[in-house]
């Protein structure tokens, strides 16, 4: 690994550790979901009904680490911060693994 690459990985790790800012700041400034990414409950409150299609697709997929959290959003901010960092680390590992697999599958000509 080159010196620059080491520095970049260190930078990415720092990003993962700082990532909880992405939930702390919105909480501080009372900002909610991204526009068009509301959950069923929130949408129902916003428009007064839950569209049929949304009911149909609601249980299509249960993500193992939904919303970058393990305990939903009921836990304390401290717990959420820890979950968020752990999610970031899990994400880094999965992304690296996926890119490694794709590279192995696709790029054979130089080995």
């Amino acid at each position: 690994m080159t010196k620059t690459q080491k520095k970049l990985w260190a930078g990415l790790l720092v990003m993962a550790l700082l990532s909880p800012l992405g939930i702390i700041l919105p909480a501080m400034f009372n900002a909610g979901d991204a526009w068009g990414e509301w959950g069923s409950e929130t949408l129902k409150k916003l428009v007064g009904f839950l569209p049929e299609g949304m009911k149909k697709y609601a249980d299509l997929w249960t993500a193992p680490v939904a919303d970058y959290s393990f305990g939903g959003h009921d836990g304390s901010m401290t717990a959420q911060v820890v979950f968020y960092i752990v999610s970031g680390i899990i994400g880094i590992l999965l992304v690296v693994l996926a890119i490694y697999i794709i590279s192995r599958m696709v790029i054979k000509n130089e080995e």
Binding site: L12, M15, S19, F29, A34, E52, Y68, G91, V96
Partner: protein, 230 residues
């Protein structure tokens, strides 16, 4: 920007899966041909960077949140086709593991965020840069590249959400999927991006380009053509 399940009708997400499949297969062929072993660590880092930057939700006080994507930066650094692969991998993992973006909407999300954004960013960068290699011109090109690329992604999201009430509603006129019409979706999403989220994307793109110009100038894909010519 990650459309969840249930917001898009099948007649919207179906075709967009088709479009994304085409881009994925071309992208894989392109990286097989063009990506060197030396670039693989950077591809991995680029994808990780995109994953992490999307965790930084930026608040609009009392309103919504949004985030940068880093897709423009990846397109400038490693080429638009490599960006398609890097950001798509991220979006697929986000949907499957973290429930961020829907499974049915994966084709749409990959087209908006991993295909359209990076390609527009790349074209903007090349167009603004022109033949110049002046630092100020490169900086302007990088900022605009991120700014316009993310805005285009966002507008596509707004467009796809906004047409749902038109194309899919019950007998009583009640929308079956995303309920807000274009007249609401477009201005809201356009404004929040033009004023805040895309500015962040532009600044991130600018800062990273400056970093790579200083430390790894030979790596930068979008400056390559020029270098081999001179």
């Amino acid at each position: 920007m990650h459309i969840p399940d249930g917001y898009l009708s099948p007649q919207t997400y179906g075709p967009l899966f088709g479009v994304s499949f085409v881009f994925w297969s071309v992208a894989l062929k392109k990286i097989k041909k063009d990506l060197s072993v030396k670039q693989i660590p950077y591809l991995a880092m680029a994808a990780v960077f995109s994953f992490l930057i999307m965790m930084f939700n930026i608040p609009i006080p009392g309103g919504t949140t949004g985030h940068a994507v880093g897709g423009g930066m990846i397109a400038i650094l490693l080429g638009p086709w490599t960006a398609v692969v890097a950001v798509s991998v991220v979006l697929i993992i986000q949907a499957l593991v973290f429930g961020d973006g829907g499974i049915t909407a994966l084709g749409a999300n990959c087209f908006n965020i991993a295909v359209a954004g990076p390609f527009v960013s790349y074209w903007v960068f090349r167009a603004v840069k022109g033949k110049s290699s002046k630092p100020s011109r490169l900086s302007t090109a990088a900022f605009l590249s991120g700014y316009i690329g993310l805005t285009v992604s966002a507008l596509l999201v707004a467009l796809q959400l906004g047409i749902q009430p038109l194309i899919a509603h019950g007998p009583d006129g009640q929308p079956l999927y995303a309920p807000y019409p274009l007249s609401v979706a477009l201005p809201v999403v356009a404004l929040e991006h033009l004023l805040l989220f895309s500015v962040v994307e532009g600044v991130v793109t600018l800062l990273l380009l400056k970093y790579f110009l200083k430390h790894e100038p030979d790596l930068i894909y979008s400056l390559e053509a020029q270098r081999t010519r001179t």
